[in-house]
Symmetry: C3
Subunit: 139 residues, 3 copies
């Protein structure tokens, strides 16, 4: 069994953003030399997500508005968590909707994807450097 | 390490449906000959889910109504994504609630399940052939 | 390849609770002797979750209130599932928001975690003994 590990770093300037990280994950897989197995890609921070969906800007605007409806940022004082001095309680909620991690099969050295699957980093509390972990196991 | 890969195909006639795919996943495991490891089962399409819950028709009706409340199909024009000519933006949202994939432990050649766990394909934008990937790694 | 399996048991007295199970998962990893690979931690019951987020009591109160808004327990009769004699349909919905399972990379014999990641058992229908499965594969 072979394993591979890499951290991807992001520094989103605004509060929220979706970034297509598929090319970086593909580069990790190539670097690993693993031909068959699975990849785990997870946010290492608890106010961010990794998810798989469509790379279509209109859909990303729909996600943004929808998540803001389900777990609004304002009023900040409505959240107990924000009494700690944070203002990011909503980000902890949004991340649960979109998920922490994805698992992807590796077959013949490639991400074993359907026609439209792309991997995204979802930032819900930006303004600082944050990480995604890529772990591959296989052979 | 042994690996196994299979695609399961579905063609839901209506827009939405939940299908119990546990028997097919069990058949994959038997065919693989893998006795110990993990199984990844994921939708290969971004308007569908694979999830684990109860095989109870009343609950499935509750899910259907609940998801329609959280992310209604209508009005179609309320979603930016639908300006691309699609009418399935809600399906991309519903799938995030229900999830893309499940991971199941394999122990002594069996799905290592609790008493009521069953695996479902959740279709949110039917009317065409779509796939689920089963990937098993272990020995 | 080495594998390891353990069940963790819980008996929450009230209906809902979040329990930090990180120490138990770390103990499993130590007991397994596995230095490199991945860990699957999943609820074996379909009205409970395993998720990764912050060990902050204010946030847990926010989650509790938020989940109750998205999928209220009352009125019990509003759910079809509860016609079976159950009163836990809301728990099946809440669990889909918070998720069934987490996957964690193992690197150099440790949970490969970001600075604040902690693993929680989320009980949404307590009052009886329920299980979490820990499965580790690696070497």
């Amino acid at each position: 069994m072979k394993t591979y590990r890499k951290e991807l770093w992001f520094n989103v300037q605004g509060r929220r953003e979706f970034i297509n990280i598929t090319p970086q994950v593909v580069a990790c897989l190539t670097e690993s030399g693993i031909m068959d197995g699975i990849i785990l890609v997870n946010a290492m921070h608890i106010t961010a997500s990794v998810f798989i969906n469509d790379d279509e800007s209109g859909l990303h605007q729909d996600y943004e508005r929808w998540l803001e409806t389900l777990a609004p940022h304002e009023p900040v004082a409505a959240y107990r968590h924000n009494r700690t001095g944070e203002d990011n309680a909503d980000a902890h909620l949004k991340r649960q909707i979109m998920g922490r991690e994805v698992l992807i099969a590796v077959t013949e050295g490639r991400l074993d994807f359907g026609p439209w699957e792309q991997i995204f980093y979802g930032e819900f509390d930006g303004g600082r450097r944050k990480r995604v972990l890529v772990k591959i196991i296989g052979e």
